[in-house]
C-alpha cells in the first residue's frame, strides 16, 4: 500500500471496500469495544469529569481566541530557555526547515517519536528525498513503517493489524531496516514487543538527532510536553544531541497550571489509564542533561484557515485522544484508511477538510462520513461539537460560500457531486406542496413495489450505492389513516 493519501478514493468507495474485509472488521471491533469499555471505567473514577471537560474546553477556546499573543509569548519563553523557534506556513516549508536542520548536523538518520504533525506533513518521505532515513520508534508506527502501510488510528496506528499479521511483517521486513526478527518469533504480544525492543535499541543508542511533536506547549514557561507509554519517546527526547520538535500552533496552553486539566483528561480519554506510563516535559535545553540543541518548528499548514471559521475553529481544541474514533459506528466498520487522511474518524471528518480545504473529492466526502449520532461529542474531553461542525461543513460543500484558504478569503462554489441532492430536494419541495400529486405518487409506488430495483437509477445511484433502500409499504400511510379512521377502528392494515 502506498504511503501517501494522494489520489485516495472518496470516503464512500474506500469505506465500501473496507467494510467487505472481514479480518479488518474483526480487528477493529475487538479493539474499539475493548478500549471503549475501559475508558468508561477510567472516566467514572473522577467525580468532576464534567467540570474538567468544561475547563479544558474553556482553556483551549481562550487560547485560540488570543493565539497571536500566546504564540509570541511561547516564542519568547522557548528562546529564553535556550531553544530556537522556526515558523512554517505549510508542509513544504516545515519539511525544508527540518531537512536543513538535520543536514546541518551531518547525520544520515533520525529517530522519531510518534507524531501526528510530522505525519500530516509527510516528513519521513521528505527526509528520504534528501537522503535522510527516519526511523519510527513507537511500536505501532514501527509496524506500519515496516509493513509499508498507513496508520489507521490516532492512538494505535496499527489497530487494523492482528498479532499474526504483525509477526509476519516483523519476520519479513525487520532485516531490511536493521536487526532482524529473532529466530522462531511467535505471535504473542510479549515476544513481538521484545523483538521491537531489540530491533530499536541499536538505533536509540547511536542516534544523534531526534524528531518529535508535542502534546502541549506552555506559553508562560516555554515548556513542551510529550505523553507516551513505551519509553521510545523518552529515548528520542533525551539520548540524541539535537532535538527537533514539529508542533501545530494550536497545541498551546497559556500556563503551567493548565496542564492539571489535560494531564487528567487526556490519559483517561485515550488509553483509558489513570496516567500514561511516561510523561516528559522539557523547557529549552538543560546543561548536561538531554539534547544540547533544541529546535521548535511551529506549524500552520491550514490551522489559521480553520481558525478563521467561527463554527469550525473548535476542531482546533482537539488534544488527539482518539476517544471519538473508538465510539464511532462508522469508524468501527470502515476503519481509519477509508478517511484518506492522517486524522481518521469523527475528528478527521471535521479536521481534514478544514486543514486541506474541501476542493478534493475525498475532502468533500468527509463531512458525510458520520451517522450524526453524537457519540463523538459525548466522549470528547474538550467538548468539540463534532456533529455541529459536520453539518456546517456539509452545508459548505453543498451550498458553497466564503472560506479562508492560505490566508485569503475566497468564495467556494457549490460542489458538483451534489447536484442530484439539490435536485431531489427541489422535487420534494414541489411534491410536498401538492398533496394530490404526492398521494398519486405514493399509491403508484405501493402498487409497483415488487418491481423496484435495489439501487436507484440515474443521479440517485450515488446515494443508494452506500445505503440500503427502504422497502415501500404495501399501503401508503394516508390511505391507512383514512381507511381505519386514524387507527380507531382497530383493523389491521391490508397486507
Amino acid at each position: 500500500m502506498s504511503g501517501t493519501f494522494v489520489g485516495m478514493p472518496a470516503f464512500p468507495k474506500a469505506a465500501h471496500e473496507a467494510v467487505g474485509n472481514a479480518t479488518l472488521r474483526g480487528n477493529l471491533r475487538h479493539a474499539t469495544h475493548t478500549i471503549r469499555a475501559k475508558r468508561a471505567v477510567a472516566v467514572a473514577e473522577l467525580d468532576d469529569w464534567v467540570e474538567l471537560r468544561e475547563a479544558g474546553k474553556l482553556i483551549k477556546d481562550h487560547t485560540l481566541r488570543h493565539l497571536d499573543r500566546y504564540l509570541v509569548q511561547l516564542e519568547e519563553s522557548v528562546t529564553a530557555a535556550g531553544g530556537t523557534v522556526h515558523w512554517a506556513a505549510d508542509a513544504d516549508e516545515a519539511n525544508r526547515i527540518v531537512a536543513r536542520l538535520v543536514k546541518e548536523t551531518g547525520e544520515p538518520e533520525v529517530v522519531k517519536v510518534k507524531s501526528m504533525a510530522t505525519q500530516e506533513i509527510g516528513l519521513n518521505e521528505a527526509l528520504e528525498a534528501e537522503g535522510i532515513r527516519a526511523y519510527e520508534t513507537d511500536l505501532a508506527e514501527l509496524i506500519v513503517q515496516l509493513g509499508k502501510d498507513r496508520p489507521s488510528h490516532i492512538l494505535v496506528p496499527a489497530i487494523h493489524r492482528n498479532r499474526g499479521e504483525i509477526r509476519d511483517i516483523f519476520r519479513a521486513e525487520m532485516s531490511e531496516w536493521g536487526r532482524p526478527a529473532p529466530e522462531g518469533l511467535t505471535d504473542t504480544p510479549a515476544e513481538l514487543a521484545e523483538a521491537a525492543r531489540l530491533h530499536l535499541r541499536e538505533k536509540f543508542l547511536r542516534a544523534k538527532v531526534g524528531i518529535s511533536g508535542a502534546n502541549f506547549m506552555v506559553a508562560e514557561t516555554g515548556t513542551l510536553v510529550v505523553v507516551e507509554s513505551e519509553g521510545n519517546g523518552r529515548m528520542c527526547l533525551t539520548l540524541p544531541e539535537t532535538l527537533i520538535s514539529v508542533v501545530g500552533i494550536e497545541k498551546i496552553v497559556p500556563t503551567w497550571r493548565d496542564l492539571e486539566v489535560f494531564l487528567q483528561t487526556l490519559p483517561r480519554s485515550s488509553t483509558a489509564e489513570r496516567m500514561n506510563p511516561y510523561t516528559s516535559t522539557w523547557t529549552g535545553t538543560t546543561d548536561g542533561d538531554g539534547p544540547q540543541t533544541f529546535h521548535l518548528v511551529l506549524l500552520d499548514n491550514g490551522r489559521t484557515d480553520t481558525l478563521a471559521d467561527e463554527v469550525g475553529r473548535q476542531a482546533l481544541r482537539c488534544i488527539r485522544c482518539s476517544a471519538c474514533l473508538n465510539v464511532c459506528p462508522v469508524y468501527e466498520r470502515a476503519g481509519g484508511h477509508a478517511y484518506g487522511s492522517v486524522y481518521p474518524g469523527p475528528i478527521g471528518a471535521i479536521l481534514s477538510p478544514q486543514l486541506r480545504g474541501i476542493q478534493s473529492e475525498i475532502d468533500a466526502s468527509l463531512p458525510y462520513a458520520s451517522s450524526l449520532c453524537g457519540a463523538c461529542y459525548d466522549v470528547c474531553p474538550v467538548a468539540i461539537d463534532i456533529p455541529e461542525v459536520l453539518v456546517h461543513l456539509r452545508e459548505r460543500v453543498v451550498q458553497g460560500g466564503p472560506v479562508t484558504r492560505d490566508g485569503n478569503k475566497v468564495v467556494l462554489k457549490p460542489a458538483k457531486g451534489h447536484a442530484a441532492e439539490r435536485a431531489a430536494m427541489r422535487a420534494a419541495r414541489w411534491a410536498f406542496g401538492r398533496p394530490g400529486a404526492l398521494r398519486t405518487g405514493q399509491r403508484l409506488a405501493s402498487r409497483t413495489r415488487r418491481l423496484h430495483p435495489r439501487t436507484l437509477p440515474g443521479p440517485g445511484k450515488a446515494w443508494s450505492g452506500t445505503r440500503d433502500l427502504p422497502a415501500v409499504p404495501a399501503e401508503p400511510f394516508r390511505d391507512w389513516w383514512q381507511r381505519t379512521n386514524g387507527g380507531t377502528t382497530g383493523k389491521e392494515a391490508a397486507k
Binding site: L58, T137, R197, R201, G231, R234, I249, S280, D289, A308
Partner: protein
C-alpha cells in the same frame, strides 16, 4: 514577508470576530473541578499510592528509614545486579549495605555504556497517589533523565508522607517547569498489539518503588 509575520497576520485576520475587551484569561476559565478526589487521611493517601503503583505493575515495598539500606541491598541481590548507576547526590547510606559495583552518573558516559549497567537507584521529586505516578526532576539525587531510562531495572525511593500528594493539580504545584521532568506511572508498557497490555518495551522493564517512612 517572513513566515512568522505571515502566520501571525493570518491568525490576527482569522480572529476579527474577537473583541479587544474579550474576557481575560483569569476569568475565562471556570476552575470548579476538584483539587483532589476524595477525603483521605495522610496514611490513606500513601496507601492509595501503593495500590495504584502496584495496579500498574510497579513492585512496591515499604520500610522504615533504618531498614532502607538492607532493602536496597536485598533488591539488587535478588536481581543479581553486578552494577548499579548512582546519581551524584544520592544519599550514601542508601547503598551502605550492598557491595554491587557502583557506576557514577557522568556526562561523558555513552548510551552504550549505560546499556551495560544492570540497575539504577534514585530518589524522586514528588509522588501522586491518585494516579500512581512518581515524578523525577533531575535533582542531584535523581540524576540525568537517561539513567532511569536505559538500564532495565529502576529502584526509586519515595519519602512518605513528605513527598506524596493526592492529585495531579497538587503535584504540578510542587514542580518547577524550568527543570526537565519525567513522570513515571509503572514500568514501560505498550498496548499496540490488539490492545493487550505488555509491560516493558523500551524503558526499564522492572520498576521497584520503596516507600520509606
Amino acid at each position: 514577508m517572513s513566515s512568522r509575520e505571515r502566520i501571525l497576520g493570518r491568525v490576527r485576520r482569522a480572529l476579527a470576530d474577537v473583541p479587544p475587551d474579550d474576557t481575560p484569561y483569569g476569568e475565562a476559565v471556570a476552575r470548579d473541578y476538584l483539587r483532589e478526589h476524595g477525603d483521605r487521611s495522610v496514611e490513606e493517601t500513601v496507601e492509595l499510592l501503593a495500590e495504584n503503583l502496584a495496579d500498574y505493575r510497579a513492585v512496591v515495598h515499604r520500610c522504615g528509614e533504618g531498614e532502607l539500606p538492607s532493602v536496597v541491598a536485598r533488591l539488587l541481590a535478588e536481581r543479581k545486579a553486578a552494577t548499579v548507576l548512582v546519581p551524584p547526590g544520592l544519599e550514601e547510606a542508601w547503598l551502605a549495605e550492598t557491595d554491587v559495583a557502583r557506576v557514577p552518573d557522568r556526562g561523558e558516559s555513552t548510551a552504550h555504556e549505560l546499556d551495560r549497567v544492570d540497575s539504577v537507584v534514585t530518589a524522586c521529586a514528588v509522588a501522586i497517589a491518585e494516579t500512581g505516578t512518581i515524578v523525577l526532576d533531575g535533582g542531584p539525587d535523581q540524576g540525568r533523565r537517561r539513567i532511569t531510562l536505559v538500564p532495565d531495572h529502576h529502584i526509586c525511593v519515595v519519602r512518605v508522607p513528605d513527598q506524596v500528594v493526592s492529585s495531579v493539580p497538587q503535584g504540578l504545584e510542587r514542580l518547577d517547569p524550568g527543570r526537565p521532568l519525567t513522570w513515571i506511572s509503572g514500568p514501560s508498557a505498550t498496548s499496540d498489539i490488539e490492545l493487550d497490555r505488555v509491560e516493558g518495551v523500551h524503558g526499564p522493564r522492572t520498576l521497584e518503588v520503596i516507600l520509606v517512612g
